[in-house]
């Protein structure tokens, strides 16, 4: 590893982007996530969801995960969202966009979700106050150990998925099972959308 790369790796948590960049992305992700669940027109919701997915992909880049960021853009923003847009155009959106958008129990749902958010934030605040795990004595959120190399990320992911030097990777079996899951999903989707089985 050359010295310049070492310097880059040791420069702290966010050498890929500045804190300012993080806050802009966080605001963008949350604002477009809010748009997803409030828009009347489902196409607008889908476009807002694409913005959220792209800002999460940028988060992955800031976290030294370029392969996951690429997968996010190609599979999510490129594949799944096209599927969603196709289905939105197949089903009749005109009727449902004139309808009432929220169900009758929406205040209960909103209150439950707010309680969940309070639970999450409370747990995170308690963890921040605790700093060390009471059982193991180790730090709960230790500083990053700076071992993730960005330039060889894809090779390392491939070694864990497919194996390295003739040995099976740690996740090779799970990877094959995932391909089986996708096969079942394809069959399910095709059979479900057939007119007559």
């Amino acid at each position: 590893m050359n010295p310049a790369m070492n310097a880059g790796l040791n420069a702290g948590m966010a050498p890929v982007g500045t804190p300012w960049f993080f806050y802009v992305l966080a605001g963008l992700a949350v604002a477009s996530g809010l748009a997803v669940i409030t828009r009347r027109n489902a196409v607008h919701s889908a476009l807002a969801l694409i913005v959220t997915l792209l800002s999460v992909a940028c988060f992955y880049l800031m976290l030294y995960a370029p392969f996951v960021a690429g997968v996010q853009i190609i599979v999510y923003a490129g594949g799944i969202m096209v599927l969603f847009l196709f289905v939105i155009m197949l089903v009749n959106i005109e009727r449902s966009s004139k309808d009432r958008q929220f169900n009758r129990m929406w205040p209960v749902g909103l209150a439950a979700a707010c309680a969940l958010l309070a639970l999450f934030l409370g747990a995170l605040a308690k963890g921040k106050a605790l700093l060390n795990d009471p059982i193991t004595g180790k730090a709960l959120w230790p500083d990053p150990v700076n071992k993730l190399a960005e330039s060889s990320n894809t090779q390392q992911v491939a070694a864990m998925l497919y194996g390295d030097g003739g040995r099976m990777g740690e996740y090779t079996f799970a990877f094959e099972i995932a391909s089986l899951l996708l096969l079942v999903a394809i069959l399910g989707a095709v059979i479900m959308t057939k007119k007559k089985i």
């Binding site: 289905v87 009749n92 009432r100």
Partner: protein, 102 residues
């Protein structure tokens, strides 16, 4: 501004997760409910990748790739069910999906 730590990412992921939960619980349009589920899965992925960065190993990233596979399968089957349902009842409202009620 202070340095960005793992906690910052956890807070953003919690916000995205709760937005998804609100969408699932309150919307009537099935397509938007499915999109809210995607939002929830993305929040989980963000957590996993942030923890992967924190511990300095790749297991979190591998898990998030498997979750993306899962999300693709779920979207395909869910939208297939939605099309089959729309063909039968001409509606995509969650409230009117009550064929199994008696």
């Amino acid at each position: 501004m202070a340095e960005i730590t793992t906690l910052h990412y956890l807070v953003v992921a919690a916000a995205l997760f709760v937005l998804g939960v609100i969408g699932v619980l309150t919307r009537r349009n099935v397509v938007i409910v499915l999109m809210s589920i995607e939002l929830i899965l993305n929040a989980v992925n963000l957590n996993l990748v942030a923890f992967s960065r924190m511990w300095g190993n790749l297991h979190g990233q591998l898990f998030s790739i498997f979750i993306v596979v899962d999300a693709a399968a779920e979207a395909a089957v869910g939208l297939g069910i939605l099309i089959a349902f729309f063909r039968n009842k001409e509606t995509i409202n969650v409230d009117e999906i009550d064929l199994l009620k008696w």
